[in-house]
C-alpha cells in the first residue's frame, strides 16, 4: 500500500501529511503530527478518549479515517486554549477538580465544549447525557459534571467557581 499526501485543517492550521488509506485520524494526529492530547483507551469507539471536533461536532477520531477529515475543520484538545490562555471550560475543569489521571480529560473537554457551544448553561441532566459517551474511571463524574455546568454559568454557592463576587473578596 502506498502513502498519499493529504491536507488537513487542524486547529486553524493547514497540515500536509502522508497517510495510508486505512490510517485513522487518531493515528495521524498522534503519530504523524505529534498531537498526542487525543488518547486511545478502548480502540473501538466506546470510551470517548479520542473525541475531537470535526466541523464543530464531536467525533471519535479512532473510528474516523484520516481521509474522511479532508476538507473539514478539525479541532483537538490542543486547540482549545488561545495560546497560553485557557478556555473557560478548561479553567473550570482545573478549578472544580475535574481532572484526576487526565487520560480521559481531552475527550471529556471536547464533548463538553461541543455541548457548551450550543447550550452555554446546560442543566446537570443535559451535561450527564452529553458526556454519556466518555468513560472516566477516576472521578465518578461528579466534579466533571459540575465543571461543565458551571464553566459558562458560575454559581455563587459553588466553592470552586471563581465568580465575580469572590474575586472582589
Amino acid at each position: 500500500m502506498e502513502k498519499i499526501q493529504i491536507t488537513l485543517n487542524i486547529n486553524d492550521k493547514l497540515c500536509e501529511v502522508m497517510v495510508y488509506h486505512n490510517d485513522t485520524l487518531l493515528e495521524v494526529l498522534r503519530d504523524e503530527l505529534d498531537l498526542t492530547g487525543s488518547k486511545e483507551s478502548c480502540g473501538e469507539g466506546v470510551c470517548g478518549s479520542c473525541t475531537i471536533h470535526m466541523d464543530g461536532k464531536p467525533v471519535r477520531s479512532c473510528l474516523t479515517l484520516a481521509m474522511e477529515a479532508v476538507g473539514t475543520k478539525i479541532r483537538t484538545v490542543e486547540g482549545l486554549a488561545n495560546g497560553d490562555e485557557l478556555s473557560d471550560l478548561q479553567q473550570s475543569f482545573i478549578d472544580h477538580g475535574a481532572v484526576q489521571c487526565g487520560f480521559c480529560t481531552s475527550g471529556m473537554l471536547m464533548s463538553a465544549d461541543a455541548l457548551l457551544k450550543n447550550n452555554p448553561k446546560p442543566d446537570e441532566k443535559t451535561v450527564r447525557k452529553a458526556l454519556g459517551g466518555n468513560i472516566c474511571r477516576c472521578t465518578g463524574y461528579a466534579k466533571i459534571v459540575e465543571a461543565v455546568a458551571h464553566a459558562c454559568n458560575p454559581q455563587d454557592d459553588c466553592p470552586d467557581c471563581k465568580t465575580d463576587s469572590k474575586v472582589r473578596e
Binding site: 478548561q90 481532572v99 487520560f103 472516566c136
Partner: protein, 764 residues
C-alpha cells in the same frame, strides 16, 4: 496531636491540582505518547492455550521478515523468576516450559512498525502439547491432572491461617449463630490508560524505562535482579499515569521483555497493550467464595467468627499472600470480634493472574455486612445499631494485635446516618425502594521491610524557589499536588514556587509507592520533615539578620517574619542569597519510616503491628429496584470517611466519588468477568459495563477528621475505605429494596429478578 492546628495557609484548602493545567491542554505526556529517536515497536506473542507444554519455538521465519529487528523467547532470559516474595517466585518473564493461561507471554518481537511486528508474531511457530486445564478453584484443589505449578500440591498457592484462640468456646456461648456463603466473580481495573512501556539502554548501559507504575522503586529492583545489573543502572522515569487502582503495583513481564528487546536491538522500544491485553495480561481482582460463621450475644455483639475464603488466584502468585490477607484485615479492623479464625486459600487456576485491587474482596466484605444485617433483623436491632455496637474504637487492638490509634469509625456512621436521613427512611420506604449501610476499614500501609520508608531531599535555588525530590508516584489520585502543598506550607512558599522531582529512581530515594495507601502517610511525611529541616536552616540565617531568636520566626507567603511582630520580616529569596554569600547552600533531607512490626509476615507470622494508621469509612445507599426488569436506580449515596486530616478537600471528594463509583455503582451492579474455557468473554470496554456519567446518583461527601497522631497533619489513607464500604452499602440497599438478602455479587438484573421471583414463590 501537638502538631495539629487549623492555622495552615496551604494545606487543608481546596487547592486545584498542579498537574491539571498540562492535562487540560493535552500537553501531559503518558507512556504511549513518547517518541524517541529510532524507536521500534514491540509486540507480544501470547499463549492460545490455558494449559500446555511448550515443545518447541521456531522464530527463524519471523527473524527473516524485513523490518524485524529482534525476536526474544524464554531462552534469552537470565532465568530469573518473578514473585513478590522469595517463596512465591513462580513466574518466568517469558515462558519456556509451559504456559498456564490464555495470554501467557511466549515471545516478544521488535520491528520497525506495528504491522511488521504483528506479521512477525504470526510467523513464530510454537508447538504445544495441550494439558488438562482447571478453571474452578474448588475443582483445582481436588484435581488429579498435572499441577499448574509442580511444587504446590492441590494447586494451593497460599494458605493464610489466623486463629486468635477461644473460637469454639465462644461459639458455645453465643446466643445466635449464622453461617452463610457468599460468592463474587473477578472484576477488572479498566484504567483509562492501557498499559504501555518504553525502554532503552543509554550510552552507559543503563536501562531507562517509562511505564505506568504504583511505585518506581517497586519496578527498579526486580528489573535489576532480572538483568543482573546494579540498582543504579535501572532508571525508572517519571511519566503521567492513567490510573492504577492496585493494578500497576508489580512489575509486569512485558516490562522485562520490552527492556530485553531494547538491549538486543540497541534501540528504544515501545510496547502498547491493547485494551484486551490490559484486561487479560496485567492483573485482575480475585474471584472469591467466602463462608462467614458468626456467633453473637443477645445484644448482637460478635463473640466468635470463623471465615473461610477460597480465592481464584489465576496462573501465578503475584501478590498472593497479601491478597489472601487484605479482605480479612479490613474485617478485623472495622469490627471488633472477641475471637476469630480465618482460613484463606489462594488457589492456582489456568486463568489470568489476580493481584491487588481497590475493592479487594467485595464478596467477602459484602457477605460480612449482609450477614450482620440478617443477624440484626433476627435480634430486632437496626443495622446502624448493630454496627455501632461492633465497630472499632480508638485505643484498641485488632484481632491480630495491631494497635489502632486514631479511629472515628462511629463518627462516620453517625454523620452518614444523619445526612442520608436514615432514621426517616429505614423500614419506612415503599416496596422495592431500599436503603443500606456498609462500613469498612483500610490499612494505611503494609509491612514492607527495607522499602517501607521514604526519604525526601529539598534544595533552594538562588531565586528563592525550592526543588523537592521524592520517590512518591502520582497515578492520578493527586499525590504530586499533595507533596507540593506540604512543601509549600512548611517552607512558607507558594505552590508555584515548588518544583517537584518525583517518581524517578535515579534522583529519588526508595519509597513504597502508592501501593498500600501510604503516599501521604509515609512519602508526604518525609517531604514534611525535609521541609521543616530546610526551614530551620532558613530561620537560622534570618534570625541573625532580624536579630531575633530562630524559634520566634514563622514563614508564609515567601516571607520569614517574627511571629509577634509580623512587620519585622525578610523575603525568603533574600535569606537564601545571604546564606549563599556566607558559603552555605540551603538544603535538607527528611525521612519517615512507619514503626511496624518487622517480624510480622503474611503467612508465617500474621500478628503484630501491621501499619501505624487505619482509615474508616461508611457508605449509605438509597435505591429503587424495578421489579419487572431488575434494574437498579440509585437515588443517593452518602460517603463518610475518617481520613485523619483532609489535606485537600477538593482532591478528597474526588477520591470518594471515584471510589464509590468503582466499588459500588460498578462493583455491585454491573462489573464482572464472564468466562468460557479459561477465555475471558468480556475483556473490552464494550462488553464490560463501566458506570457512565448518566448512571451516577447524587453523592454526599463527608470528610471526617480524627487527626492521627503519626500522620502528617494527622492524615491517613483516603478513598479505599469508601470503595469497599460502598460495595457493602449498595448490596445492603438492593437487598433491603427487594426483601431478599443477596449472596451472589454483583447484583445484576438477572440475579435480582430471580431473587424476587423466588421470594414471590415462597410467599405463596
Amino acid at each position: 496531636m501537638s502538631d495539629h492546628t487549623t492555622d495552615y495557609t496551604i494545606v487543608g484548602k481546596r487547592m486545584p491540582r498542579v498537574d491539571s493545567r498540562a492535562k487540560v491542554m493535552g500537553k501531559a505526556k503518558f507512556t504511549a505518547d513518547l517518541i524517541l529517536p529510532g524507536m521500534l515497536v514491540g509486540k507480544i506473542k501470547r499463549s492460545p492455550y490455558a494449559h500446555a507444554r511448550i515443545l518447541s519455538i521456531d522464530t527463524s521465519k519471523a527473524e527473516a521478515l524485513a523490518g524485524v529487528k529482534s525476536v526474544v523467547t524464554g531462552k534469552d532470559t537470565e532465568g530469573v523468576k518473578w514473585g513478590v516474595f522469595a517463596y512465591t517466585r513462580d513466574q518466568q518473564f517469558i515462558q519456556i516450559e509451559k504456559v498456564r493461561y490464555i495470554g501467557d507471554e511466549v515471545a516478544g518481537v521488535a520491528a520497525v512498525d506495528e504491522d511488521t511486528a504483528l506479521k512477525a508474531l504470526d510467523l513464530i511457530d510454537v508447538e504445544y502439547e495441550e494439558l488438562p486445564p482447571v478453571f474452578d478453584p474448588m475443582e483445582a484443589m481436588v484435581s488429579e491432572t498435572e499441577l499448574i505449578h509442580e511444587d504446590f500440591p492441590n494447586n494451593v498457592n497460599v494458605h493464610v491461617n489466623i486463629d486468635t484462640g477461644n473460637v469454639d468456646e465462644n461459639f458455645e456461648k453465643a446466643h445466635y449463630i449464622r453461617e452463610d456463603t457468599y460468592v463474587a466473580p473477578e472484576e477488572s481495573y479498566f484504567q483509562a490508560e492501557p498499559y504501555a512501556i518504553v525502554a532503552r539502554f543509554d550510552h552507559e548501559d543503563c536501562l531507562e524505562i517509562w511505564c505506568p507504575n504504583g511505585g518506581p522503586h517497586m519496578k527498579s529492583k526486580p528489573l535489576s535482579n532480572a538483568f543482573k545489573i546494579p540498582l543504579h543502572k535501572v532508571k525508572v522515569r517519571k511519566i503521567s499515569i492513567g490510573g492504577a487502582f492496585g493494578g500497576r503495583s508489580e512489575i509486569c513481564p512485558v516490562d522485562y521483555i520490552c527492556a530485553l528487546l531494547a538491549k538486543k536491538t540497541k534501540k528504544p522500544v515501545r510496547i502498547e497493550f491493547t485494551r484486551e491485553e490490559n484486561t487479560i495480561a496485567t492483573r485482575q481482582g480475585h474471584a472469591m467464595i467466602t463462608t462467614h460463621k458468626t456467633g453473637v450475644d443477645k445484644d448482637g455483639r460478635v463473640l466468635a467468627r470463623e471465615t473461610t475464603c477460597y480465592m481464584d488466584g489465576g496462573a501465578y502468585s503475584s501478590t498472593g499472600p497479601i491478597a489472601t490477607s487484605v479482605p480479612f484485615l479490613s474485617m478485623e479492623q472495622v469490627y471488633r470480634m472477641e475471637s476469630v479464625r480465618y482460613n484463606g486459600y489462594r488457589i492456582y487456576t489456568n486463568k489470568p493472574i489476580r493481584g491487588m485491587i481497590r475493592t479487594h474482596g467485595r464478596g467477602f466484605a459484602c457477605g460480612l455486612d449482609i450477614q450482620l444485617d440478617m443477624i440484626a433483623e433476627h435480634l430486632g436491632i437496626d443495622p446502624v445499631e448493630i454496627r455501632l455496637r461492633n465497630c472499632r474504637k480508638p485505643g484498641e487492638y485488632t484481632s491480630t494485635k495491631s494497635f489502632v490509634d486514631s479511629c472515628a469509625m462511629d463518627e462516620t456512621i453517625h454523620k452518614a446516618v444523619e445526612k442520608s436521613g436514615w432514621k426517616e427512611k429505614w423500614g419506612k420506604l415503599p416496596p422495592f425502594h431500599g436503603i443500606g449501610i456498609g462500613t469498612n476499614s483500610v490499612q494505611t500501609g503494609f509491612p514492607m521491610g527495607i522499602r517501607g520508608g521514604s526519604q525526601s531531599f529539598i534544595k533552594f535555588n538562588e531565586d528563592g524557589e525550592a526543588t523537592v525530590m521524592s520517590g512518591v508516584v502520582d497515578n492520578g489520585q493527586g499525590n504530586d499536588n499533595m507533596l507540593v502543598q506540604i512543601a509549600a506550607e512548611e517552607l512558607g512558599l507558594l505552590p508555584e514556587d515548588i518544583h517537584l522531582v518525583s517518581a524517578d529512581t535515579e534522583t529519588t530515594s526508595s519509597d513504597p509507592g502508592s501501593y498500600s495507601q501510604v503516599s501521604t502517610f509515609v512519602g508526604g511525611h518525609a517531604v514534611k520533615l525535609a521541609a521543616q529541616n530546610c526551614r530551620e536552616k532558613l530561620f537560622e540565617v534570618a534570625a541573625k539578620v532580624l536579630k531575633v531568636k530562630p524559634e520566634t520566626l514563622a514563614a508564609k507567603n515567601r516571607l520569614i517574619f517574627v511571629k509577634d511582630d509580623p512587620e519585622k520580616s525578610i523575603p525568603i529569596r533574600k535569606v537564601v542569597r545571604i546564606s549563599l554569600l556566607n558559603f552555605n547552600s540551603v538544603n535538607a533531607e527528611g525521612g519517615y519510616w512507619p514503626k511496624v512490626d518487622m517480624k510480622r509476615e503474611w503467612v508465617k507470622n500474621p500478628y503484630g503491628q501491621m501499619c501505624e494508621a487505619f482509615s474508616f469509612g461508611t457508605t449509605i445507599v438509597e435505591v429503587k429496584v424495578d421489579p419487572d426488569t431488575g434494574q437498579v436506580e440509585v437515588l443517593e449515596v452518602t460517603a463518610a470517611q475518617d481520613v485523619g486530616y483532609g489535606i485537600n478537600p477538593l482532591v478528597l471528594e474526588g477520591q470518594f466519588e471515584g471510589a464509590l463509583t468503582m466499588g459500588g455503582q460498578g462493583g455491585m451492579l454491573t462489573e464482572y468477568h464472564d468466562w468460557k474455557d479459561g477465555r475471558c468473554l468480556n475483556p473490552t470496554m464494550l462488553d464490560y459495563k463501566l458506570p457512565l456519567a448518566c448512571d451516577m446518583p447524587k453523592i454526599n461527601n463527608i470528610i471526617v477528621e480524627s487527626i492521627d497522631p503519626k500522620g502528617p497533619y494527622g492524615a491517613k489513607e483516603a478513598g479505599m475505605s469508601i470503595a469497599m464500604s460502598a460495595a457493602q452499602g449498595y448490596s445492603a440497599a438492593v437487598s433491603n429494596a427487594i426483601g431478599v438478602y443477596m449472596d451472589s455479587f454483583p447484583l445484576t438484573p438477572d440475579k435480582i429478578l430471580a431473587a424476587i421471583k423466588n421470594k414471590r414463590d415462597q410467599d405463596k
